[in-house]
Amino acid sequence: MNATGNNTGSEHELLRFAAAGSVDDGKSTLIGRLLYDSKSIFEDQLSVLDRTSKKRGQDTMDLSLLTDGLLAEREQGITIDVAYRYFATPRRKFIIADTPGHEQYTRNMVTGASTADLAIILIDARKGMLTQSRRHAYLAHLLGVPHLLVAVNKMDLVDFSQSVFERIQSEFATFAQGLGIKDVRYVPISALHGDMVVTRGDRLGWYHGATLLETLETVDVAGLVEHDALRFPVQLVARPDPATGRERRGYLGRIESGFVQVGDAVTVLPSGVSSRVARIFTFDGDLQHAGAPLSITLELEDEIDVSRGDMIVQTVVDAACGAAPSVTQSIAAKVCWMHTRPLDRRRHYLLKHTTRTVKASFSEIEYRVDVNSTENVTGVDTLAMNDIAHVRLRLYEPLACDNYTLNRATGSFIVIDPSNNATVAAGMIADA
């Protein structure tokens, strides 16, 4: 969507990032600025923007209006739900999860962060680090977002002061270190005027780091998976059909992590039965080997019982193969409660993990986390919307899973209320 038209190739990498900030820190302005400066805003959107700005009595075009989505949000002037936005530069394509900052919307930040490779945390230079900034950083960390980018905004209102920026940076760094957050970068910006967002401007000469967009364009996306043993949850099983060239049963799924090749010894979990990979089928032809995140169809040498919800992993013969997942009926996890109807520990819920759905109950709530102080609160026996807690779940059938910090795909789950099918919680396995 670049006006120069030079991004017509299809060999871009994709970066998904979440943007979080407290109300009025300038998140909408920043996103509007990124879209505008990367020429991803179209004339018709601009003219609506211009008209709306004028209608509201503003004389300059308000870039933040670009991201106001739903009627209710425009009426209330706040963002309620996660919105996804897209832009591309000649180097990368970006998906932004635009998440509302308000405490009430913790669940939305959790949602946006769940798929993010990077989180931008906006801080108003005049206000410095607030409770909300801590909460945003904590949530990004909890959801395993690999990179944090702290954007100190409204630098124009503090005379582009280096010391203001450095004070916020060092305060944040202390906090981040306490949580064990590893990769944090800092950039001073003025979203309104554009300094250090896409272009450097000439008022932040003391800052020698990358602009906000440069960081987005260069941060590593390929090295995200810390866990590289094969994880292949089976989505569907296709029957043999020699008329179509399929001699064996086919296991349809996506490689969530790791790598598989023809001839590999593999094990099906939770049954533990082993076989070898006979064929890796794709519509575009057979492959000798394939890696995450490709969707493929696997065929195995032996006729063994495999169904949806099973996970195919590498057979572990020595430590070099990487760890096997745990197969367990009891897990410890961090959960975020997402529904207005609170947790009822007397009830059964459904837990969806990869492609497997099992009955589950909450056997214990060890503590609730106060997301503002990040302190643990004990003696809790229910969870309400937006609560985050460390719990223990009992499963009615075994799951093959990994700790979330090692593998986002096989360490995450959602909880469904079977009485109304609502998604009531999201969970990250802490100890499988």
Binding site: Y84, A320, N421
Partner: protein, 339 residues
């Protein structure tokens, strides 16, 4: 990280040529090395490959989680992409769902011809339900001067009830319109087909909640994260056929403030209106009476991609007069059951 991992980390992205886009061209260095831990061997897939794999995964979740889905196929470019993704997800088997088209009776003949041709070519079942029938039965009421895009909702909801569908796979994208930017990939509709934007199911990771009760249904959008440019790049990469009206052709149009209105059996110039013959192409192919082409000389996919990369008007803004009526028109229509 060991040394092998480093090698892979610094590799350049895979080259995706039309002929070998399966994405399986991992470095051969890793083949056969059994004792080395296979760490960090994550393919650096290009965004199109990542989006493709995501969409295949979504389609397979529909097939596994829903009992009676259908794929909405209109003959337009987005649903053409959906069909290729379904091939990638399910071949050599048959699609685990029929194709369904809600025909407004105002469709471009080239597109309808293409719809039938493509369905037959794939050997998949195509079900057509028509807005004209809904109007004849008094289920839908036509309003003069308004297109039929909105009336499709009635026919769609009736078809969902008639065919007892619990999921409809559609080709909508989040970049199309503001209200869509907030919609889930698995978008839940109540028994009246309504979308409640304030009460959507949270959607995390790639864990989709496909559960519905009788009478409810889910709209599923596998290409939510694609942009118009991605769609054209994918069509080019996959060498997919598209209806001829997507390419530049000479057409009689009436120049209106909202766009170029194509002259057809249904749209004739009013007194005083001038008909011009202009080189145009369509960016979307909806209701013939309100879908406007853009001026273009692009006669190949590559030229369309260049124009799309350089375009300054959103797809809907350029081409749908009915979406311009009010800033919130799409949201209102969606709430009533429109896609």
């Amino acid at each position: 990280m060991n040394s092998l991992a480093k090698v892979h980390d610094t590799d350049t992205p895979l080259n995706v040529a039309a002929s070998d886009h399966a994405g399986g061209d991992l470095r051969s260095a890793s083949a056969g090395i059994k004792s080395v831990p296979q760490r960090a061997i994550r393919q650096r897939l290009s965004e199109l490959n990542v989006l493709e794999s995501e969409a295949i995964h979504i389609m397979r979740e529909v097939a596994a989680g829903c009992s009676n889905p259908a794929l909405l196929f209109s003959g337009g470019k987005d649903s053409i992409v959906l069909l290729r993704l379904a091939e990638k997800a399910f071949r050599p088997g048959k699609f685990p769902f029929p194709l369904l088209h809600i025909d407004t009776g105002h469709n471009f003949p080239e597109v309808i011809a293409f719809r039938d041709y493509r369905a037959a070519q794939l050997g998949e079942r195509l079900i057509v339900r028509s807005v004209e029938d809904s109007i004849a039965q008094g289920r839908a009421v036509e309003q003069p001067g308004q297109g039929r895009n909105a009336l499709q909702s009635v026919t769609l909801l009736d078809s969902i009830a008639e065919l007892e569908l619990d999921a409809c796979i559609g080709g909508a994208r989040r970049d199309e319109e503001k209200a869509r930017a907030k919609e889930r990939i698995f978008s839940f509709r109540d028994s009246f087909g309504q979308w409640d934007p304030k009460n959507q199911r949270p959607e995390l990771w790639d864990l989709y909640n496909t559960r519905v009760q009788a009478g409810e249904n889910i709209r599923v959008f596998p290409i939510s994260n694609w942009t118009e440019l991605d769609v054209w790049q994918y069509i080019a990469r996959e060498r997919l056929e598209v209806p001829s009206i997507y390419f530049s052709h000479a057409r009689d149009v009436i120049r209106k403030p909202g766009g170029l209105l194509p002259v057809s059996a249904l749209v004739q110039p009013r007194p005083g209106e001038k008909v011009e013959n202009v080189h145009v192409r369509f960016r979307t192919v909806g209701d013939m009476t309100c879908t406007c082409p853009v001026e273009s000389v692009a006669t190949t996919l590559e030229e369309i991609i260049v124009e799309t990369g350089a375009t300054r008007i959103t797809e809907r803004g350029a081409t749908r007069m009915d979406d311009q009526t009010s800033e919130a028109s799409m949201e209102l229509r969606k709430k009533e059951g429109y896609f």
